[in-house]
């Protein structure tokens, strides 16, 4: 099979993984090296596909042959999609060839399970080893780790990779059992726990002051598919909060279950729930950067996020008694709960109000969505009056033009 055809099959097979992050690893350049590449600081998105997703890494599978039969997966054993397998050398050459032309930040390599977990993991690690040791490649490497692979292989993966990930795949262990019978939710979490302790160890100085062995300086992440099972948003966010807390993940990615070629009849296809996925990311942001708890974000009785307004606005509408907020006096935690105010705007308000009072015109200049913010705030020269009590406030806010959407798939 021609290389181009393999690339088409094995990129197509990899695109359901949302992660393309290339940020947050250690800073390196090639100035003292023989090879190519650098990393550190902000990730770089080298292109964007018309699905709005960033293309930062060469994201491919080593092979899409797979002995598992996960019904949501394009590569399951019972699917009749065309199959291909790269050699280690082919992946190495493709990565270097793309990197030299400045198309990518590095490689995100995953694989279908062939023979057994250890054999598969060994092949994946070998690609990373050749890139690092034989070509002195200093760009970004993200490896998908295979649960149940041996601890020695995991240690080697962490030595070469910037980031490791294991997908929990579905929000609950019960869903995983029914849709991915060969996968073991407990084993996945065990592996994440092992990765966490290895990552922690690599950050501590040993007693003798010796530098510990490198292990995935870019941390670990995971992904869950949304909409393939019946789990509600409350349970999903609960799972996320636990994953962030227990395994200190850098990111939990949500992937709306999306039509795939040659789907299983067990899971009927429909257009992916993109708005729901977007609301989950917004909720995830509230968890990580806005001081919200998982159990207060979902306000509806059906356990689902409101699709009409963002989760912060939904929360504010349900807690109108806590508004309006005085932008010149309220503590930071409360400013972060004002609809339409992001982390940056809040920082600006806090720094400015130390010098002089924040006024109406200042908000205008800050370019926040006034329609969203104004009903919820008080300023020396502005009061929302009874707008907060208006029964049609939600409809009014729904029409608000959202401020420039935070690029969720940007490499942050």
């Amino acid at each position: 099979m021609e290389l181009k055809q393999k690339l088409e099959i094995l990129a197509d097979a990899a695109k359901y993984d949302a992660s393309c992050a290339s940020s947050g690893t250690d800073k390196r350049t090639s100035r003292d090296g023989k090879g190519i590449g650098s990393s550190g600081g902000m990730g770089i998105c080298h292109s964007y596909a018309p699905d709005g997703r960033c293309i930062s890494l060469l994201k491919i599978l080593l092979t899409n042959f797979c002995v598992y039969d996960c019904v949501y997966c394009v590569n399951r054993v019972s699917s009749n999609v065309p199959r291909a397998r790269f050699s280690v050398e082919e992946v190495v050459n493709l990565t270097l060839s793309f990197y030299r032309r400045n198309y990518i930040e590095g490689l995100f390599l995953s694989s279908g399970i062939i023979r057994n977990p250890d054999y598969t993991m060994e092949q994946v690690v070998e690609v990373a080893r050749v890139l690092r040791e034989e070509h002195d490649f200093r760009g970004y490497i993200h490896l998908k780790t295979i649960p149940d692979a041996s601890p020695e292989l995991m240690a080697r993966a962490g030595l070469y990779a910037d980031r490791l990930s294991i997908n929990v795949e579905l929000p609950t262990i019960a869903s995983l059992q029914s849709l991915a019978p060969e996968k073991d939710g407990q084993a996945i979490r065990r592996s994440m726990g092992q990765l966490k302790s290895k990552i922690d160890e690599s950050k501590d100085k040993t007693l003798s002051g010796k530098k510990p062995r490198r292990f995935a300086p870019g941390g670990q992440s995971t992904q869950m598919i949304v909409g393939a099972d019946t789990t509600d948003d409350r349970a999903i966010l609960d799972t996320s909060a636990n994953l962030y807390g227990d395994y200190r993940l850098r990111r939990v990615y949500y992937s709306a279950f999306s039509p795939i070629p040659d789907a299983s009849k067990v899971l009927p296809l429909k257009a992916p729930p993109l708005v729901r996925e977007h609301r989950l990311y917004q909720a995830d942001w509230l968890l990580r950067f806005y001081g919200f708890d998982a159990d207060e974000i979902v306000t509806g009785t059906d356990g689902m996020l409101d699709l009409d307004v963002d989760p912060k606005t939904a929360w504010a509408l349900q807690h109108r008694e806590q508004f309006p907020v005085d932008l010149n006096r309220a503590p930071k935690a409360m400013l972060l709960r004002v609809p339409g105010l992001g982390v940056t705007s809040v920082a600006r308000i806090l720094s400015s109000r130390k010098v002089r009072a924040v006024r109406y015109d200042d908000l205008v200049r800050m370019r926040v969505s006034l329609k969203k913010v104004l009903p919820f705030v008080v300023l020396p020269d502005y009061h929302p009056g009874h707008r907060l009590d208006a029964p049609n406030l939600k409809q009014h806010l729904q029409q608000a033009v959202p401020p420039q959407q935070f690029g969720l798939f940007e490499s942050l």
């Binding site: 596909a49 060469l58 019972s78 032309r101 060969e182 073991d184 257009a271 010098v355 690029g407």
Partner: protein, 294 residues
């Protein structure tokens, strides 16, 4: 009116020297005009003003400057802002310096129109630098000695070519490359970096042997069931498309997306041909794992 001539568009040191002297002479911002000209040898057209303080007595400008220290943050912001293409940037920076003397906490007031403008210039320069690192596309050519050279054509919006150099030399240290732009070009031979005047797109190679694979990748990594054109365009505005080898695919991918998704949804499930042997999980010792006992 004081006319200051700066050596180049990115002459930060020239701006700083002039700004210090103007400040020491208490020349208000509205009495200064900033120009960029190559022919200028002296900084000031009206030389005698330099030696005179506002009170008419000669004083040492350096001494005057030591009395007034600006926050380090301000200097860093100025270094970035000066790379912006807005001709009013030099005046803005001097006005900020002037006001900082009266109000040392000025930079804290993020809403102040001058401070906000400074931040928006810096943001635009940072974004332009980031997009240059992202969207430069090298094309490989073979030199007479058989070695490879990589050449890119890029059109930045601001004066950022020099500022981008550390990124490219640190990443592509062991490659020979050139980045050509309309205003300024830079060349790296593996050891030294040199700059030359602007070039045109025709000076760069028109194609590259690696681009077909890259386009194949771009086509395949796109998910037609998730069409979000505006999200793509906000991050990759159309002005960049003309220099991106993958961009000609965009129209076709958008046009066929909905139909591709509908076809997948409408397709009848097939019978597995089962060419691959289904997994029977085994532990290392050969025992079947618990969940596969049935």
């Amino acid at each position: 009116m004081h006319i200051v001539r700066l050596a180049t568009e990115t002459d930060f040191e020239g701006w700083r020297t002039a700004a210090r002297q103007l400040l020491s002479q208490r020349v208000p911002p509205e009495q200064v005009e900033w120009r960029v000209g190559e022919e200028s040898l002296s900084l000031f057209d009206s030389e005698p003003m330099l030696a005179q303080s506002a009170s008419g007595q000669a004083r040492d400008p350096v001494q005057a400057v030591t009395e007034f220290k600006v926050p380090r943050e301000f200097v860093e912001l100025c270094r970035k802002a000066i790379l912006h293409s807005d001709p009013a940037r030099f005046a803005l920076l001097y006005r900020l310096l002037w006001r900082l003397k009266e109000l040392p906490k000025l930079l804290h007031i993020a809403f102040d129109p001058d401070v906000a403008r400074l931040h928006s210039l810096v943001k635009a320069v940072r974004r332009d630098l980031h997009k240059m690192k992202a969207f430069v596309r090298f094309r490989e050519i073979e030199m007479e000695n058989g070695e490879s050279e990589f050449i890119a054509w890029f059109e930045p919006s601001h004066h950022i070519v020099e500022a981008s150099a550390p990124f490219f030399t640190g990443r592509f240290t062991n490659m020979r490359w050139s980045i050509l732009t309309p205003e300024r070009c830079m060349h790296w031979d593996g050891k030294t970096l040199t700059f030359s005047p602007g070039a045109s797109k025709a000076d760069a190679p028109r194609e590259d042997s690696g681009e077909e694979l890259w386009r194949a990748y771009y086509r395949s990594i796109f998910n037609p069931a998730r069409l979000k054109v505006s999200a793509m365009q906000s991050q990759m505005p159309k002005k960049y498309w003309r220099n991106l080898p993958e961009a000609p695919l965009i129209a076709e991918l958008i046009a066929s997306a909905t139909q591709r998704m509908d076809t997948m949804i409408a397709a009848e499930p097939t019978q597995p041909r089962r060419k691959i042997v289904k997994y029977v999980a085994k532990k290392a010792d050969g025992m079947p794992s618990e969940q596969n006992m049935d």
